[in-house]
């Protein structure tokens, strides 16, 4: 019995570890698409954020500063995407693809300059604090490696992710600004007529998506592990993008989709450790398969915001 409880704790803990970076990034996706701008550049922004987070945390010995700079780094690429798509009406998918190459390319380029030619940073000296250990002393609140420890003794980034889901939900659905963002994403012409600045709202939303993707990357490089390497972010941005769509463009939906994916990963690792007679490569498909089945079977039809991906031209052309 004790073993089973511990195993469940392990699966939940793994779920949280896996989904945290995805939750940040998918929140970024929700915000930008709600304002009507597609951003498939999340992967590149995440990649860049992961690098900046680890590099800054390495040089300053402060994981918090790393996290902050990762957000700024993501914002920079958000700005580039906004300039291309909002000001110059570029095709959003094309700009997103360019951002993916640019994000990864600049991260590797800067890494080579700063880290003696290597495409990975050195190990950061200090990690994000574990809030429970920080508040109550290490192993004081829950016995270590017990159920409660496995589930709740998580990095600050994990707690922050869930808090952010709440904040984004609150802003999107309970404030005037949020209503404007959604209006701009559904029908920019109408919003424009009512005096809402479509351009301004979209700029803010796209830059914010970069901020969240940057945080997502840093949540990987300074919490899950403690350095950036060239393969650390491989496809996470795209999974977050998919989670946002499966979550019906809602922050809480995206969060659930990310958790589902993380849980499937946790379950897969658990099964693998029990030596079940299923080949490992089949097990490795499980998270993707399970996600697909649940989403096709239970989530139903998803509808994108009305104006997503469409170019808004203020002059009416």
């Amino acid at each position: 019995m004790e073993m089973i409880i511990r195993d469940i704790g392990f699966i939940i803990g793994t779920t949280l570890m896996y989904s945290t970076p995805l939750i940040y990034t998918s929140l970024g996706g929700v915000i930008t698409e709600r304002s009507g701008v597609v951003n498939i550049g999340l992967e590149g922004m995440m990649y860049f954020g992961a690098f900046v987070g680890a590099a800054v945390a390495y040089f300053t010995a402060s994981p918090w500063l790393g996290l902050l700079c990762a957000a700024l780094g993501g914002a920079l690429f958000g700005l580039i995407h906004a300039v291309a798509c909002v000001t110059f009406n570029a095709e959003q998918i094309v700009s997103g693809i360019a951002i993916n190459f640019l994000g990864a390319g600049s991260a590797l380029f800067i890494s080579r300059l700063l880290f003696d030619g290597a495409t990975q940073t050195l190990t950061i000296p200090n990690k994000m604090p574990l809030p429970l250990d920080f508040l109550f002393g290490e192993g004081r609140l829950f016995p270590s490696s017990g159920f409660m420890d496995l589930v709740f003794n998580r990095f600050a980034t994990v707690y922050l992710a869930f808090f952010m889901v709440f904040v984004v939900w609150l802003v999107l659905y309970k404030t005037r600004i949020g209503m404007r963002v959604r209006a701009v994403g559904e029908n920019p012409e109408a919003a424009n007529t009512l005096g809402v600045s479509v351009i301004k709202i979209r700029y803010c939303a796209v830059i914010l998506s970069g901020v969240f993707a940057g945080l997502g990357g840093a949540a990987m490089s300074i919490a899950v592990v403690s350095r950036f390497s060239n393969t650390l972010i491989s496809g996470h941005g795209f999974i977050a993008l998919a989670a946002m769509i499966f979550g019906k463009w809602k922050p809480q939906g995206a969060m659930l989709a990310c958790l589902l994916f993380g849980a499937a990963k946790g379950f897969e690792i658990y099964l693998g450790s029990k030596g079940v007679p299923i080949p490992g490569d089949i097990l490795a498909i499980l998270p993707y398969l399970l996600t697909l089945i649940i989403l096709v079977g239970f989530v139903g039809k998803t509808t994108a915001p009305g104006a997503v991906g469409k170019i808004f031209d203020k002059s009416g052309h």
Binding site: V224, S273, G280
Partner: protein, 334 residues
């Protein structure tokens, strides 16, 4: 005037041939193509390049490299270096096996060499294969783990299950069993060489089940393995190179593969006029192709290291043959 230009022409021609003559007779040109890791990957490719640079310094050869960004770059990179008239071209890593073979068949007069792959009887006569007995250093670190575990439980995290990684797995298990017949080895493959989060989860789970030392042979997945050791205050064992710098208090030792030594050795042999085309050159403890990390003495007691030295001597002398497959392992523990 005419006479003068003819003379000038003759002179230039003479200078040219003289130059070409000395170049081909004296300075050996050796180049390498990296796999997708790039030349500064802190691992395999970097080690290979260090070997070439050492050869440049000590043997006076000329070196160059080409980085591959994706699998599709291997063949074009090999072609470019072939056109550049190198004496020997290295492909670093088994990922390049097909590209090396097909390029070698088209250019039969050019020497090639590959790290970590042997084509068996299909090896072209102009290709030499450098392979390693990874089971030997794995055996040694397994022995250390078996001696040092306090819970009689240790772990192994593999990248993707294929024979190369199984050499690490079974060598490690055999070493651990020899040191401690009661030891239990938890084993799991990540089915990836990049998913660090998965490495961390697998390792955390192993520690949760009572293991106190985990060895990995899983590339970047190992970042997660070492991270878990750091967070849980347990031991991890590194691979390929000395990984102690990643977590100085938690990396017990590392099973090292000296790609640099292998490359240096083969370049030296070529310079002396021996190129072992069409066959495999095996690197192991006897020719310093593998070993355990120099930082091992930081955490491993001297008495255990002395036993390890005895084992090394026995393996070198051929008294002890380390198993590298499941079947050999079964036979070994009997």
């Amino acid at each position: 005037m005419k006479k003068l230009s003819v003379m000038a022409l003759a002179l230039t021609f003479a200078a040219f041939t003289a130059f070409a003559g000395t170049a081909s007779a004296k300075t050996l040109k050796v180049a390498m193509v990296t796999d997708v890791g790039g030349v500064n990957d802190q691992s395999f490719n970097q080690s290979a390049w260090e070997g070439l640079k050492r050869a440049e310094k000590e043997l006076g050869i000329k070196t160059a490299y080409k980085e591959s960004k994706q699998d599709a770059d291997y063949a074009p990179n090999l072609e470019t270096l072939t056109d550049a008239e190198n004496d020997l071209i290295w492909g670093i890593g088994f990922l390049m096996a097909d590209a090396i073979r097909s390029t070698a068949l088209i250019n039969p007069d050019q020497y090639y060499a590959i790290v970590d792959f042997f084509y068996g009887p299909d090896t072209p006569a102009n290709v030499s294969c450098a392979i390693f007995q990874e089971e030997q250093p794995s055996f040694l670190v397994g022995y250390i783990a078996g001696k040092m575990t306090k819970t009689n439980k240790i772990g192994f995290v593999g990248g993707i299950k294929f024979p190369l990684i199984e050499k690490f797995e079974y060598g490690y298990m055999a070493g651990a069993k020899l040191a401690n017949p009661n030891v239990e080895v938890l084993r799991q493959y990540a089915e990836s060489f990049t998913d660090a989060a998965k490495g961390k989860a697998i390792t955390t789970n192993m520690y949760g089940q009572g293991a106190d030392i985990v060895f990995h042979a899983s590339g970047a997945v190992g970042d997660g393995v070492i991270e878990a050791a750091k967070e849980d205050g347990k031991w991890a064992i590194g691979v390929d190179k000395d990984q102690n710098s990643l977590a100085p208090d938690n990396v017990l030792t590392s099973a090292m593969k000296r790609v640099d030594n292998a490359i240096f050795d083969m370049v030296k042999q070529l310079q002396e006029g021996h190129f072992k085309g069409g066959e495999a050159v095996v690197y192991n403890l006897s020719n310093n192709g593998v070993g355990i990390a120099p930082t091992s003495s930081k955490h491993v007691p001297a008495a255990i290291l002395a036993e390890v030295d005895d084992l090394i001597a026995k393996i070198k002398a051929g008294e002890l043959v380390v198993p590298s497959t499941a079947a050999e392992y079964e036979a070994f523990i009997k």
